[in-house]
């Protein structure tokens, strides 16, 4: 690539010192340059700096090829085929553990059931009513309602995921389910040397729903407002989700690694849990 060919308007950069050019790039990276810089102009500066390394084109090509090989090996997101092989190994190991656990559980169940029945306790009846309760929570009508809008909502939520992708944030932090009727309104990104926060707003008539992710680098996560009433601590996947309510809205707050996450909106507890389950 050569940006320098046929760009005499940028030739002034040739006369500037390496330190001066580096300072321009540093200011550009920190958004300290007031005037909008053309991409070609930026690459012109990078090329001037690159030429000052006194490397031959062959050496540069070799370094780049090596870097690309390293990229493929260590950084490039893995394709499904490779992932499949790994999954198969993990699956077979997990399958063995599950099988052993199942046999142990069955033996314990047989022994305890026999003992319980001997004392007149209908253990099977209790088990059935417990499972019935769980199944009622996600009944067929709810499931059908959620299906298609969920796909649509995934598109709405994509912009929030895109914002995280742009920062190379790969952790699963965003729900894929959005309560019925909510549509994407806008997204805000706050980026400072100390923190990054991304929040997306969704509207449903006069109601508002906000999902926010804050990268709390080097900070103790903020305490949750005590003014709200703690409804429950909902634990899933080893993460504690604190669900609060006040007169108008429901709030869920949780921390994953260096990320402090919140969902705030006019939704029901069931909708909130559905969102949490979909993360």
């Amino acid at each position: 690539m050569s940006e320098k060919k046929g760009r005499p308007e940028y030739a002034r950069y040739e006369a500037q010192s390496t330190e001066e050019l580096q300072e321009i790039l540093r200011k550009h990276a920190h958004n300290e340059i007031q005037i909008e810089m053309d991409t070609e102009e930026l690459f012109y500066i990078m090329e001037v700096l690159s030429e000052r390394n006194n490397q031959t084109p062959e050496q540069i090509a070799k370094t780049t090829q090596d870097a690309y090989a390293a990229f493929r090996e260590h950084y490039m997101p893995k394709e499904n085929s490779t992932a499949g092989k790994t999954t198969a190994k993990v699956f077979s190991a997990r399958w063995m553990k599950v099988a052993v656990a199942a046999v142990v559980a069955l033996v314990i169940l047989c022994v305890t059931t026999a003992s319980a029945q001997a004392f007149g306790v209908d253990i099977w009846g209790r088990f059935a009513s417990w499972t019935k309760e769980i199944f009622q929570f996600q009944d067929a009508s709810q499931h059908d309602q959620g299906k298609d809008p969920e796909k649509e909502n995934n598109l709405e939520l994509k912009s929030l995921q895109d914002a995280l992708d742009q920062y190379n944030i790969t952790q699963k932090l965003i729900p894929t389910y959005l309560p019925s009727g909510y549509t994407f309104a806008d997204i805000n990104v706050f980026d400072s040397p100390r923190e990054v926060s991304v929040s997306a707003k969704f509207n449903r008539e006069n109601d508002e729903l906000i999902i926010s992710i804050r990268q709390t680098i080097g900070k103790v996560p903020e305490q949750i407002e005590k003014s709200d009433k703690l409804l429950e601590v909902y634990t899933i996947g080893g993460v504690d989700y604190y669900i609060f309510s006040n007169t108008e809205t429901l709030q869920a707050a949780w921390v994953v690694g260096e990320f402090e996450c919140q969902i705030i909106g006019k939704i029901s507890v069931e909708e909130m849990k559905e969102m949490i389950n979909s993360i």
Binding site: Q22, E23, R26, A29, H74, N168, Q215, I217, K219
Partner: protein, 160 residues
């Protein structure tokens, strides 16, 4: 990412890599970290191949993404530095010692012997990229990142 998109990203990499490294190095003042920032930028490009490959200005997209990655790197370095320095016991003699002669245990106490501290120190003070550390440890870059995050969490709890 399909084959066609992969080819486009490969061409962009081979065409722009040395220049983007110059950009990152100008900001980070650390060539190895600059290289890693560019590698991470292309990893994001692969995950968002549809956007990059359809962009009217893929070079501009790459620079903007690199800017974000650079700022992430800077934040990571600042915060890790802060964690490390919070363990330091002030000693002008130790502080004035050449970098390769610093007695870490004398300067930071017993915490300096933990694997968490050593990893944090390698990243924050010595400025080693994750790839270098992961190769030394025989682990993947992704695992090294996870260990780093766990180490930070562990050390932050120790400060409290």
């Amino acid at each position: 990412m399909n084959r066609e998109q992969e080819k486009i990203i490969e061409a962009l990499f081979l065409d722009l890599y040395p220049f983007l490294v110059k950009y990152a190095d100008s900001v980070l003042n650390n060539f190895a970290l600059a290289e890693e920032a560019v590698q991470e930028t292309f990893a994001v490009a692969c995950r968002r191949a549809d956007v990059v490959c359809e962009s009217e200005n893929p070079k501009g997209w790459l620079v903007e993404t690199l800017k974000l990655i650079i700022r992430n790197t800077e934040r990571r370095q600042i915060s890790a530095n802060k964690v490390i320095s919070s363990f330091a016991e002030y000693s002008p003699i130790l502080a004035a010692a050449p970098a390769d002669h610093i007695d870490l245990t004398a300067l930071y106490g017993n915490i300096a012997n933990t694997k968490e501290f050593k990893l944090m120190y390698a990243v924050a003070i010595e400025g080693h990229p994750f790839l270098e550390i992961s190769q030394k440890e025989g682990i993947s870059v992704a695992t090294c990142r996870k260990r780093f995050e766990r180490a930070r969490k562990y050390l932050q709890k120790k400060i409290r």
